[in-house]
Symmetry: C2
Subunit: 498 residues, 2 copies
């Protein structure tokens, strides 16, 4: 049985080599590739996707996995095999040439999306998006589903997630958030003008790298580059790439993108190196991935304690701007709540309205009750209804996110799930570590990172999201913790009546 | 037959996708990869090598190629098929797991070489180099050869090249070069101190990019980055990457590396896009590739005419250094002949002594008359014998080149062949274009690039080196043209008696 397990590991690692190679090509595509490199890159990525799919779903992989199922393996080995079998059974439903076609369409869609953004015109993207939506519907049919076809796509990003479950969850979340939002907007607004001065590019860059180091990112196993849209990717647990973008007039843009992507990157660096290519060497799920980025970005990275420790450091980078304000002013300013147009720049409270809008839209696109042509109108209506804002153009509206042109339908809900998990993990972590508050206020995030390493990062895909949360916090997903967290935070900042 | 040809094209393009993907990973490895990314990268590259070899040498490729041989195809199609069959018959002799092992060993050797350079100690590299030499001997045996085993390796870089032929060629070349070298060294030395002032990094970077643009490189289909060792690679004809390095105290280091790599890059950009993945979309040979880089670097890039056109531009970048000297001073200074230790910094004349030393050493390593342990001693003796210089340490001696740690044995001779071809091509080109001298002196290199595009770049691998040279110049390889070129050049610069 040991030989069979070794053969399984060997095959899985070769598939991983292909997947990670594709990730290198994608990283290059979004950071350094010259524009005319696009066509060849699209076909190179399609070939890597097709081959990694073909290798993973080949008959001998199925035979290996079935041969190992029920065999005497240790716990971790058994879990690797059962996770791989789940993946195999999902993936083998897709023909490899379908995977190739999807990859080619995605590359084309990414180009169309860039062109559409440049033209500030959704109709430039619409035809390719049409093709993509129809491929995703086909994918749902191939994979099979019960109930809503969107369930098949949700399942790719969060195993077992369904429309029924998410409808319930958003139903529990949105109304109390709306009430809290209205209360903050009725209170006097906090000041934040100091966040919009002049922040020179090279100072910001140095500050961002400094921040990543202070968070605990090992920069001998990671690097940061610029891209139009910040993202994190990795080619192994010891080669993690984050990207960011810099706005000289907006301090928040790069800083919280660094912290957010840094949170993702710490997760990748904390995965067990020895499980390269195997499920236990991979992140648990996208929602748990997002819990890591959002925990660092928000629960920690928008807390008063976090900035207390960093305050002299930040002041030394931007003495003219931050030299004369207090940590408390800063803390309030960076937590300003205000309905706005851009998801990635929104506060912790309105963020989930951006998500629910995309969730509802995706559901309707996939079940055919909405066509791509309806998107701009739907978008405008939804933003008016949920956030009371007027969408002035496509770039600030339905063209803002890259996700659809990456073929990612069913991804957005994991952002909300991630925030909910983040609140629970942060509460459990800080509650169980004596003295952590004091150490955070001194700029030492080691205890928090240590807890996350042990409870989350090192676990790989051993547990699913729900059980990982249960192991780490004693309870499964519970939106009440997040509501309690934002309730307390904004009651304090906006001096609301408790 | 059309369908069979289409199937052949399809397979070849998928193999190319894998090869180019590996090239992206290698480019990243030498430019941006964080140090701890190394292990995973080595295995990813090994998998891509193994798979591209496996796909190319699979039985159905052999059947396709044999089915197409003798079929009615147009000229270009027929040439693609016959070149692919040559490649196939050479490559199928290597088992794919041998290719994997070689790739893994090469990755390890690259690391050892970096470590050895850092330690300035050849013995750090020696054990891995031993492994590599033994694998290369095995490769020679697998591929088969007549006469010397090194012939099998030479053939990888220059089809048909043999030890007997190269011995004759160097025999014709080295003695007259030695005579010319001695005559220059007996004459008063030209001044070149102005090349060693202070040249700020960012000014040099801007100047280098400017230069590439003026050479005609399409920067929407190329980019330049920094690496420890300058190189050119490409992922298609519309995605070409050059790298360079900058020494603030030495003007020549970056400038001629830019021109050299720019010459390679122009070749890649001039290959027919429509032949992606096929022999006619690939460069003719390494010696012809090197003829392009060296033609730009030397025949054009160290000519008085070239710098006449560029002079005001160069002065505007570095007014303090070059503001007060003449183009003629500059021209003489950049052509200073002087025996030295470092190949890539040597002049056009002594360059070939560096090559013949490596050639003789490689021959001896591959036939076993020398072991890796003997290399530093051999190196010191050879540099004393050929150039009369004393090698102070390994870094300036046998550790200076990356090639062996890339597994490239048999590559160096193509540098000399490239210089010989460059002299012939440049003579034919400038001889056949009326008014080219005047346009060059005005900084317009368009006519020369146009000629190279037509005669060399667009031809791909249609001809072999010898026949391509014949088509372009009316004669095959002839070292006399190079000897005439350097003779005239240095007679003028050093005011030798004709």
């Amino acid at each position: 049985m040991e030989q069979t397990y070794a053969a399984y590991v060997d095959k899985m690692q070769q598939v991983a080599d292909l997947r990670y190679s594709a990730a290198v090509l994608q990283w290059d595509q979004e950071t350094y590739m010259p524009p005319r490199g696009e066509d060849a890159r699209a076909r190179q990525l399609a070939t890597l996707s097709e081959l990694s799919h073909r290798h993973f779903t080949a008959g001998d992989m199925g035979a290996l996995l079935r041969g190992l199922t029920g065999a005497t393996l240790d716990n971790r080995q058994g879990r690797n095999v059962s996770r791989s079998l789940e993946d195999y059974e999902r993936e083998e439903k897709l023909p490899s040439d379908f995977v190739r076609r999807l990859s080619e369409t995605v590359s084309g869609a990414f180009q169309s999306w860039m062109a559409a953004r440049k033209a500030n015109n959704f109709s430039v993207l619409a035809p390719t998006l049409d093709k993509l939506v129809s491929l995703k519907r086909q994918e749902a049919d191939l994979k099979g589903y019960e109930g809503h076809p969107y369930n098949a796509l949700l399942n790719d990003f969060e195993r077992g997630a369904t429309v029924a479950w998410l409808d319930g969850l958003f139903g529990d979340l949105i109304p109390p958030l709306k009430t809290l939002l209205d209360r903050t907007q009725a209170a006097p607004q906090v000041k934040s003008a100091f966040l919009h001065g002049h922040f020179p590019k090279d100072r910001q860059w140095a500050w961002g790298l400094d921040l990543l180091g202070r968070m605990g990112l090992d920069m001998t196993a990671a690097r940061q580059d610029l891209s139009e849209h910040p993202f994190t990717t990795n080619f192994s647990a010891t080669d993690v790439r984050v990207t960011t973008r810099i706005s000289e007039s907006d301090f928040t843009s790069m800083t919280w993108s660094c912290i957010h992507e840094g949170g993702h990157a710490l997760y990748e660096q904390g995965l067990p190196v020895s499980e390269y290519g195997l499920p236990l060497g991979e992140p648990c799920s996208l929602s748990i991935h997002e819990s890591q980025s959002r925990l660092w970005e928000n629960n920690l990275g928008r807390s008063e304690s976090f900035w207390t420790g960093l305050w002299p450091v930040l002041q030394s980078y931007f003495p003219n701007t931050f030299g004369s304000i207090t940590t408390r002013d800063f803390y309030e300013g960076i937590n300003r709540v205000e309905p706005s147009l851009i998801r990635t720049e929104s506060d912790e409270l309105t963020y989930h309205f951006h998500i629910v809008i995309r969730y509802e839209l995706e559901k309707a696109l996939i079940d055919g009750s909405l066509t791509t042509r309806d998107i701009p109108g739907y978008w405008a209506d939804a933003y008016r209804k949920y956030l009371g804002v007027t969408v002035p153009d496509d770039r600030q509206g339905c063209l803002q996110d890259v996700h659809w042109s990456h073929g990612s339908f069913g991804y957005f809900p994991t952002y909300t799930l991630g925030s909910l998990y983040a609140a629970q993990l942060f509460e459990a972590c800080t509650g169980s570590l004596p003295g952590v508050e004091l150490r955070t206020r001194k700029g030492d995030y080691g205890p928090i990172l240590g807890w996350l390493r042990e409870k989350i990062h090192s676990q790989g895909r051993y547990y699913d999201s729900e059980n990982l949360c249960r192991q780490a916090t004693g309870a499964g997903l519970d939106p009440v913790v997040f509501l309690r967290y934002v309730g307390a935070k904004y009651t304090d900042i906006y001096k609301l009546m408790a």
